[in-house]
Amino acid sequence: MIEVRDLVKRYDDLVAVSGIDLDVNAGEVYSILGPNGAGKTTSVEIMECLRKKTSGEVRILGHDIEKGQREIRKRIGVLPQSFNAFDYLTVKENIEYFGGLFDKRIPTEELIEAVQLQDKRDTWFLNLSGGLKQRVGVAIAMVNDPDLVFLDEPTTGLDPKARREVWEVIRKLKSQNKTVILTTHYMEEAEVLSDHVAIMNEGKFIALGTPRQIIDRHGSGSTCVVKGANAAAAEAVRSAGMIFEASNGDLMVRMENKGSLPKLISLLSTSEVTYDEVLIKGSTLEDVFLKLTGKKLAEVEQ
């Protein structure tokens, strides 16, 4: 569906995208995860024929990005970043407007149903909440029954409930066997929705693969958190030679192998050790990003 080789985009002296490769297969949800300014939107906007590349090769649905623009536009659906439709048209009229621009189109009512906006059908776009606006955007992106759908930060700025509603709509796209390219700076979103993830930072992909593969390859394994541990607990773990970090009276103990957990439990059962609770945490994409860049996703956003 998508083949990208050594894509570069330069603005004057700023390099927004510095040589990325990407292969996306039919029917998968592929997420590009990274902080603001990483180059995610620039990359997908080149694939959507919105921006011109500086160099490299991009093929979408078998067409070259520069020669095949007309053909590509007919067969892709796009939810652009910070999407807006026409304020003074209703949900239904907006979908009809964009549908009218394509020869191949899905009936408006079907799309309204797909994004669950039946009771907002005749509401002006202006009067919709952020989450509902994004759902209209997804419906409009689907209007030409595209083979490939780009969703550029579909949940940015939404509250958690609205975000989950958008996720449902994306899952529905996947169940219809659409290929979806999703950009996001929420690692949870990428982890929950995607078949493949590319983590992007400063114009480069720093990790590629399924969420599981990335975590296995770059993550630091599981961590056992001992909350409210006393000094004796810390001393016991240290003398047993386990790798750990201490903060605010909590111990974060790395689970290096199968034996780590029983060993820790036995250390904690001695009489002088006290603690409040114990929990086990898996590694996340957030941890991977932190490990690879030394920064938290949220910090880079500032």
Binding site: Y11, E48, C49, L50, R51, K52, R70, R73, K74, I76, V78, P80, Q81, S82, F83, N84, A85, F86, D87, Y88, L89, E93, Y97, F98, G100, L101, F102, W124, I140
Partner: protein, 363 residues
């Protein structure tokens, strides 16, 4: 070019345009307010008395009664011209705007029940003419009522000191049509482009098969419709409320087409060169404001100092308003077509420029 794409956008505009309350204001209420306010200011300046020059050729008592009554209205101050003066020359020499002539046989006609005419010569382009006419007309009507129960013993024959009888509104209303078309087209088109660029609608449209040219064409066509609506509304108001006499002919139609396209394209050009939404709106103001006041909408160009007249000569609205006036009111077809040619040439240049510089992509 796919006409289907143009139709889709036209339909979208037709559905949404009047849902925006401010559009209703600018297209309907604004021009009517201007006409009412300025019509009132300029046609009722008669709170102070106005000088009416009188040449009384009659020596009987009838004319004296008439003049006493006129004096008592307090609306006009009478100033007498000697019966032996050459009136036409006197008017010219003294730039008189209002002259009443009472013919020699006035009193005897009245006495013998023959219709007695008085002649009122007015320069209708002077705003006080209405006051003078009302004063004389009121007195004559009162006399008629008194003497003959409403039968017209005295009639006023009006003569114009300029070629024809034009009121301030005749001058003003075509200018308001031009002005409203300018503001609607420039502000709407500029506002829409700036807003669509800021809120991302252009980015979305860029991912569809519609081309920028198709979109521009639809916007120009829609504003053409709005411009004709403006013409109909203002003309209807002028004819129904003020009893004005205006005609719509070929040069009027062509002028609306050319002017509307010219100002829509101007809005596009402003929005393209000034990227920031607020700055663009200020730029549109900076361009339309001088035209509003210097293009002879509210004041005649001849009243302005010559350097301002030179400024007016390079403003497109000057030609549009003057052309509309020539065609709608003055029956001056040569003037109308000259002004139309100027607007058409500027319009073609603006539209070509707008088409060349408008594109979806930012980079």
């Amino acid at each position: 070019m796919r006409s289907k794409h143009v139709m889709v956008d036209l339909k979208g505009q037709a559905r949404s345009f009047f849902r925006v309350k401010s559009n209703l204001f600018w297209v309907f209420a604004f021009p009517l307010l201007l006409i009412i306010i300025f019509g009132a200011i300029f046609s009722n300046m008669g709170s102070e008395s106005v000088t009416l020059n009188v040449q009384n050729l009659d020596e009987g008592p009838g004319s004296q009664q008439l003049l006493v009554a006129l004096n008592e209205t307090g609306m006009v101050k009478l100033k007498f011209i000697s019966p032996t003066t050459d009136l036409d020359q006197h008017i010219k020499d003294n730039s008189l705007a209002h002259v009443l002539v009472i013919p020699a046989n006035y009193s005897s006609n009245l006495a013998s029940n023959v219709t007695a005419p008085v002649e009122l010569r007015l320069d209708e382009t002077v705003s006080t003419s209405g006051t003078v006419f009302n004063a004389v007309n009121g007195v004559v009507n009162a006399f008629n009522l008194q003497m003959a129960g409403g039968e017209e013993s005295i009639v006023i024959t009006t003569g114009s000191i300029v070629q024809k009888r034009f009121t301030f509104l005749d001058f003003f209303v075509p200018g308001i049509i031009g002005l409203t078309i300018m503001t609607t087209c420039v502000f709407n088109v500029q506002g829409t482009i700036s807003r669509f660029r800021t809120n991302g609608i252009f980015r979305k449209l860029a991912t569809t098969p519609m081309t920028p040219f198709e979109w521009l064409l639809s916007r120009i066509l829609w504003h053409l419709f709005i411009s004709f609506l403006t013409l109909a509304v203002i003309m209807g108001f002028g004819v129904l409320i003020f009893g004005m006499n205006m005609s719509v002919n070929l040069p009027v139609v062509l002028m609306i087409v050319a002017g509307s396209a010219m100002f829509s394209a101007l809005g596009m050009i402003v929005a393209r060169f000034v990227k920031n939404e607020e700055t663009a709106s200020m730029a549109a103001n900076a361009i339309t404001f001088p035209m509003m006041f210097l293009s002879g909408t509210f004041f005649q160009l001849e009243m302005m100092p010559s350097y301002l007249q030179q400024v007016a000569a390079v403003l497109p609205l000057t030609y549009m308003s003057q052309g509309l006036r020539d065609a709608m009111v003055y029956d001056n077809l040569a003037g109308a077509y000259f002004n139309l040619a100027v607007v058409a040439v500027i319009g073609v240049i603006f539209v070509i420029l707008a088409v060349l510089i408008t594109k979806w992509e930012e980079e």
